[in-house]
């Protein structure tokens, strides 16, 4: 997006235009994020190298090694091997073990499944970045979306006293409920920000905790599946489920008698994949947000309010409406992320539902520099990292929390791109620095 804005300016002065920027504009945009990831992963490797769990190494024995430092140095090759295996574990978890081809579809499908909410939540955060807002509330909005959709998906036939509702009504109703619940949870902080000046970082975090308690209350109360021992809602109705793309038929004994839809049914366990239509919805939303931000007056207003609220006010734009609208769109997208997890993947809502998706989506939006199209590779990278981390933890005993450290480092290097530019001697690009409405008050 920054390219498009810069492009006309460059054509006017062809003599000074840099050739690299003209031939591969996306590369010069992507180079800093890529190097940021590389640096963060390298630092992660150093952390793994130092802190390998003791059961993976020869034990420290005073009679064999003179001191702890001798032990450290004599285990260097072993440490290197474990570090490498951590990263091969990360890779094979995300993309399959390439020596065993049957694991590949499953791993890639898991990565795509994991990336689906990241794309939607990343988009959600990116929209607010464009409006100069820092939405840390994707987590809460996602929870509310999940709650809204599960309420409709599992209980709607009950409300009308019928056995089932046709999928053509039930599925859209479930999606809509999730989107609206998420949007509501985004509009509250947006309205507070625009009308009272309460800073969205604090209000959205407070709303995250509130959403968590609401979910806890509902799952243990009116929405609890009385027959289940676990704290969870009943399974959603099969007509409200998003179809999986290719998978075995569901075993109704495991899903409370529901037979969930599949586009293609298979019997091979290699092709028993979890990937669902949510990813298609996510791609559609990427296109929609790109269109909204770049091709409509609303998108222009959002960007203007974000870049220069004063100018927007002088131009007669409705600042309150734009801020509330941007937060509403953001909440709706985050709510859709929660919805697609419920109706596409989980089929019910458990007490442990989302794990830090809100912070992850911040990282993704920063990584993509709020560009809707760039959200896709950023989210896929993140999905691969998360999927692989599980395998890594099993293989090497290295805590999955390593990923959180890498994630914070990535954000740090993206936000302070001077560090990366300084390390790799890359020249400073013009503009493109991220700033937000900073003051606490109005």
């Amino acid at each position: 997006m920054a390219n498009e804005q810069q492009a006309p300016a460059e054509t006017k002065k062809p003599a000074e235009a840099k050739p690299t920027k003209r031939s591969l504009p996306w590369l010069s945009e992507a180079i800093v994020p890529l190097l940021a990831i590389l640096t963060a992963v390298l630092i992660g490797a150093v952390i793994v190298f130092i802190s390998i769990p003791s059961n993976k190494l020869p034990a420290f024995d005073l009679s064999l090694y003179g001191s702890r430092s001798d032990w450290f140095f004599s285990t260097l090759p072993e440490r290197l091997r474990v570090t490498l295996s951590a990263f091969t574990g990360l890779f094979s978890g995300a993309f399959g073990d390439w020596s065993k081809p049957s694991t590949i579809p499953g791993a890639i499908s898991n990565t795509l499944v994991e990336s689906t909410p990241y794309i939607l939540a990343g988009l959600a955060v990116a929209v607010t970045f464009k409006a100069g807002l820092f939405n840390v509330g994707a987590e809460g909005q996602l929870l509310m979306g999940a709650l809204g959709s599960v309420a409709v998906a599992a209980f709607m036939p009950q409300w009308f006293g019928v056995a089932s509702i046709p999928a053509i009504i039930h599925l859209p109703a479930a999606l809509l409920a999730g989107v609206l619940a998420g949007a509501m949870w985004g509009i509250i902080p947006g309205y507070l920000r625009a009308k009272t000046g309460a800073h969205e970082v604090i209000t959205t975090i407070m709303l995250n905790y509130i959403a968590l308690q609401i979910m806890d209350y509902l799952i243990n109360g009116v929405m609890k599946d009385k027959s289940a021992t676990l704290q969870r809602t009943p399974f959603i109705h099969e007509n409200a489920a998003l179809p999986r793309i290719i998978s075995k038929a569901t075993d109704p004994s495991l899903t409370g008698g529901q037979a969930y839809p599949r586009l293609f049914t298979t019997t091979s366990s290699t092709w028993d994949l979890r990937i669902h239509m949510g990813i298609i919805i996510a791609f559609v939303m990427v296109g929609f947000i790109w269109w909204l931000m770049n091709r409509t007056p609303k998108g222009f207003e959002i960007k203007t309010v974000g870049e220069n609220p004063e100018a927007a006010r002088y131009a007669g734009m409705n600042i309150t409406g734009t801020v509330v609208g941007a937060m509403g769109i953001s909440g709706a997208l985050a709510g859709l992320a929660g919805t697609s997890q419920v109706v596409g993947l989980e089929y019910n809502l458990k007490a442990v539902f989302s794990s830090g998706l809100g912070f992850d989506s911040l990282a993704i939006a920063l990584l993509a520099k709020s560009n809707p199209i760039a959200i896709v590779p950023a989210a896929l990278f993140w999905g691969a990292l998360r999927t692989g981390a599980g395998a890594m933890q099993i293989n090497t005993g290295i805590s999955i929390n390593l990923i959180n450290i890498i994630q914070a480092l990535v954000i740090m290097f993206i936000a302070a791109d001077q560090i990366v530019r300084w390390i790799y001697r890359i020249k400073q690009a013009e503009g493109g620095k991220i700033t937000f409405n900073r003051s606490w008050g109005k």
């Binding site: 952390i47 802190s51 769990p53 003791s54 820092f134 840390v136 507070l192 009272t196 000046g197 309460a198 800073h199 970082v201 604090i202 209000t203 975090i205 407070m206 709303l207 905790y209 509130i210 308690q213 609401i214 806890d216 209350y217 243990n220 109360g221 830090g356 912070f359 911040l362 990282a363 920063l366 290295i398 805590s399 929390n401 390593l402 990923i403 959180n404 450290i405 890498i406 994630q407 914070a408 480092l409 954000i411 740090m412 936000a415 302070a416 001077q418 560090i419 620095k433 991220i434 700033t435 937000f436 900073r438 003051s439 606490w440 008050g441 109005k442």
Partner: protein, 445 residues
């Protein structure tokens, strides 16, 4: 009639009062049974006891100094009536300034008091214990708010206080556990088994302070040297804290066996602690709570009565002017952000060494953000922020207190109370709050 902040707050107060009175009415109505011999909701009484702190140690069943029996329904009705009248006045008069924060504080404080009375209908509650909890739970919030004040008064927004607290809690505990093992080996010495071993605990607190300072140094480095947006930089601190502490906990702390079993001890201040009501509230606490009270008044003195304070305020309000008279703005900001981080480190130590002993993932549970709200509520003044902290911690104290009674409101609603109160206060008060003028702005010569 124009919709203004004062009118909005008045309307909210009236709404809360009316909801409260209906809820209490409904709840007590359901409690009337044959057995309890209570005929109508007007018969319920809530007893508030003020125990005799001096004699309690000798005889736990010593009679209380006072036991005030309040008719539940009548008291709550009077409180709600007063709130409705005050709210109506606020709507009618629409005062320009000065009345929103006091009204809001009294809605919250009296609302909490009513909920307490409601919970202990036909029962009794220990007032000094409840209020002493408020001070105890307010400790990390107040210290965090002080950390925020030091940073923001010098012009750096610090949204990373939560992360600094969390990291400090983790490494403070680690420092205590490891040093205990280094000093005493596998088991504590005989003499220390029952008593408290101070050495490792003090090392733990120092470790927490150093950790907080280091995280703050990172924040300062990113936001001053690299001019990163301060909100992003603070978020980096918060996310990194989750990663580092989770990693440290699963990889090291869970496997590490330390002889240390107890954290900082209760330290009643001699005869002062025996004063009824006041004693337990102010003079019967653990060390960091006393430290918090000292820090509140200390920072107030340093900020408004010393050269350092004047310079700090100057670089937060008008860095250019400060630079002109020869103050090195960025060096001063570095120093103050690191001092702020060290203060946040003390709050971190509270979580893992005083409030409970041990470290859990995410144990700060948003208190760092609540302390920012307390800071804003107190208008960047240490004593005001202390008041704000007590307001927020009373929500937590109330929530913990009513768990002991069979109470009609679901526990989840009580648990979300601190966050809801923070949200309401932020929305209601902030417009009147004026942050330091240069807060959040990068200083460039």
């Amino acid at each position: 009639m124009k919709f203004t902040r004062a009118r909005g707050v008045g309307l909210l107060g009236i709404f809360i009062a009316i909801v409260l009175i209906f809820a209490v009415n409904n709840s007590l109505g359901n409690k009337i049974t044959e057995k309890s011999k209570i005929q109508s909701i007007w018969d319920f009484t809530s007893t508030i006891r003020i125990p005799d702190s001096a004699n309690m140690k000798v005889d736990p069943k010593a009679p209380p100094v006072a036991a005030i029996e309040l008719p539940t329904m009548i008291t709550i009705s009077l409180i709600c009536g007063a709130l409705v009248i005050a709210g109506g006045t606020l709507i009618a008069k629409n005062p320009e300034r000065g009345w929103v924060a006091p009204y809001m504080s009294s809605v919250i404080a009296l609302g909490f008091f009513s909920i307490l009375l409601w919970a202990v209908a036909n029962n009794s509650v220990d007032l000094s214990d409840t209020l002493s909890r408020v001070v105890r739970l307010g400790t990390p919030i107040a210290i965090g708010a002080l950390a925020g004040i030091v940073c923001e008064r010098s012009g750096v927004v610090n949204i990373g206080i939560e992360g600094m607290m969390l990291t400090a809690a983790c490494f403070g505990y680690a420092a205590a556990a490891i040093s205990a093992r280094a000093i005493y080996g596998d088991a504590l010495p005989e003499s220390a088994v029952r008593g408290v071993v101070w050495m490792p605990l003090i090392i733990g607190i120092l470790g927490a302070i150093v950790t907080g300072g280091m995280m703050a140094a990172l924040h300062a480095w990113l936001s001053i040297r690299f001019k990163v947006d301060q909100v992003i930089s603070g978020t980096v601190i918060n996310i990194m804290a989750v990663g580092i502490t989770g990693f440290t906990r699963t990889n090291f702390l869970l496997k590490f066996e330390s002889p240390l079993r107890t954290g900082l001890p209760q330290m009643p201040l001699g005869p002062l602690a025996d004063i009824p009501l006041l004693g337990p509230i102010l003079f019967d606490h653990k060390p960091i709570t006393y430290l918090m009270i000292l820090m509140v008044f200390g920072l107030n003195f340093f900020l408004f009565r010393t050269v350092w304070g004047l310079r700090t305020r100057a670089i937060g309000e008008h860095p250019k002017a400060a630079d002109t008279v020869g103050i090195n703005v960025n060096r001063m900001r570095y120093r103050n952000v690191i001092i702020g981080g060290m203060i946040a480190g003390v709050a971190g130590a509270w979580f893992s060494l005083e409030g409970s002993f041990g470290f859990d993932d995410g144990m700060t549970s948003g208190q760092g953000f609540i302390s920012l709200a307390a800071m804003i509520f107190g208008k960047w003044n240490p004593i005001g922020a202390f008041g704000g902290s007590l307001l927020f911690s009373s929500a937590d104290a109330l929530q913990l207190k009513v768990q002991a009674y069979s109470f009609d409101l679901p526990s989840q609603f009580m648990q979300m109370l601190p966050y809801v109160v923070t949200l309401i206060v932020l929305a209601g008060v902030i417009g009147r709050a004026r942050p330091p003028a240069a807060s959040g702005k990068v200083y460039e010569k």
